[in-house]
């Protein structure tokens, strides 16, 4: 970190823990550097912030804000790990499970899935209060190396931002409004686009669920040995504090 940046540093608190931030940093960026994990789904390191999933909602000065887009402010008191906030986050994650077709037992991303891992972290084990919407969504396996199972898409938009900003392609984009909003490709199907399996948007780290599938690598790592089978989501950030 540059010396000039350090000079403009200021402090604020997250759950009573003093955190240092620098001008222009969001609450989440400062928290990540300080080893305080704020749950998130649509935000991803290296991509511009979107603030749409609201799983990262924290209370700053008594107001609910998205930690991934809200700038940190000097002296701010942020609440993160509270019973109330975690319940709201759990409800959000639960609703995402209900809005798509998230069948963990048949999903090759199971164990690497951030939605599933977030459900584990937030203890999503109570009997559901919502109906399963079970939408009929398309599966696009036209590309020789990539498949899209949009049943699992949670509209986080990470593929859109990765394709536009990192790959410079714009393969993915939103279509529709409200509950009908979907991620679509800029062609008749994926094979008609210039998407390549080497694109950042297609890499395993970008799609948090099992929507973007790289063919022929699905079960290279067996279930039980995958990323979130080894530990909770966010633990690599929390370990910075230890």
């Amino acid at each position: 970190m540059s010396g000039t940046r350090r000079e403009t540093g200021f402090s604020f608190t997250i759950d009573g823990v003093e955190v240092t931030a620098y001008a222009g940093q969001t609450i989440m960026e400062a928290a990540d550097e300080a080893g305080v994990y704020i749950p998130r789904l649509c935000d991803h390191q290296g991509l511009r912030h979107q603030g749409s999933c609201r799983v990262c909602t924290v209370k700053a000065g008594g107001r609910s804000v998205a930690a991934c887009t809200q700038p940190a402010a000097p002296g701010q008191a942020v609440e993160n790990e509270t019973k109330h906030l975690n319940k709201m986050r759990r409800d959000l994650v639960e609703m995402l499970f209900h809005e798509g077709n998230h069948l963990c037992p048949i999903c090759e991303a199971s164990g690497n899935c951030e939605l599933q891992a977030m459900a584990y972290r937030l203890d999503m084990t109570e009997t559901t209060r919502f109906p399963y919407l079970e939408p009929c969504r398309p599966l696009d396996a036209s590309h020789p190396d990539i498949a899209l199972d949009t049943n699992r898409c949670i509209s986080c938009g990470r593929c859109i931002r990765a394709s536009q900003d990192v790959d410079g392609k714009g393969v993915f984009g939103y279509v529709g409004r409200g509950i009908h909003r979907r991620v679509a490709v800029n062609g008749e199907n994926l094979a008609e686009t210039d998407a390549e399996v080497t694109d950042h948007a297609i890499s395993q780290e970008v799609c948090p669920v099992g929507c973007i599938i790289r063919k022929r690598v699905g079960f290279v790592t067996p279930i039980g040995e995958r990323e979130f089978d080894q530990g909770l989501i966010g633990q690599e950030i929390e370990e910075k504090r230890k």
Binding site: I106, C107, Y120, T125, E126, T127, Y132, E134, P138, I223
Partner: protein, 189 residues
């Protein structure tokens, strides 16, 4: 100190693969410990087809795909103080619920049955009909998770849940010590 009276449990398999009942057997030798706490009433494990008396705990595997499943589930709710949904099929429909969302189909159930009995590439069905014997339970339009049919008290996630989480949950419920799951035991797959 006098021993506690034994609790009664019942189990049933609805629309599922019976894997969750097999997972109950994964409790292994601890089953002996569990059997000190419970008597098993209506269950495929005892082959009892009806409740002989009211039960403390009912354990349901699988979701509801036909009318018989709904009857069995209502019967369990009536006869059990606590009802547990065991595994992903009971919790959210699981694999059988894949027939609910067959894309581009206005009648997913019809398409599913036609594929299974008439049009499927490897089907050898000389009648070219979908089985329709009156003895067969009427299929529901969709596969429903148990919680959409009756009230469920607890659910044990997993496909199938491991023997450890089943044993841990049951033994804690039976001794009044259940305070939720250990986080590292929770698996949806």
């Amino acid at each position: 100190m006098s021993e506690l009276p034994k609790a009664r449990i019942a189990t049933a398999s609805l629309a599922g693969c019976f894997g969750c009942h097999m997972a109950i057997l994964d409790i292994d030798e601890r089953l002996l410990e569990l059997m000190k706490l419970v008597d098993v009433d209506r269950s495929p494990l005892t082959d009892k087809k009806r409740f002989t008396q009211r039960c403390d705990i009912g354990i349901i595997e699988g979701g509801c795909c036909n009318e018989e499943n709904v009857h069995v589930l209502h019967d369990f709710r009536r006869n059990c103080d606590v009802l547990i949904a065991l595994g992903q099929c009971a919790i959210m429909g699981g694999l059988p619920a894949m027939r609910n969302a067959i894309m581009h189909s206005d009648a997913p159930l019809r398409e599913c049955l036609d594929e299974a009995f008439v049009t499927g590439r490897y089907i050898r069905n000389t009648t070219h009909n979908v089985p329709n014997d009156p003895a067969l339970p009427l299929l529901l339009d969709e596969v429903y998770p148990c919680s959409q049919v009756v009230e469920i008290d607890y659910q044990i996630p997993g496909c199938a849940p491991g023997g450890d989480i089943i044993f841990d949950t049951l033994s804690k419920l039976l001794t009044g010590k259940f305070r939720g799951f250990e986080r590292e035991m929770i698996r949806f797959d």
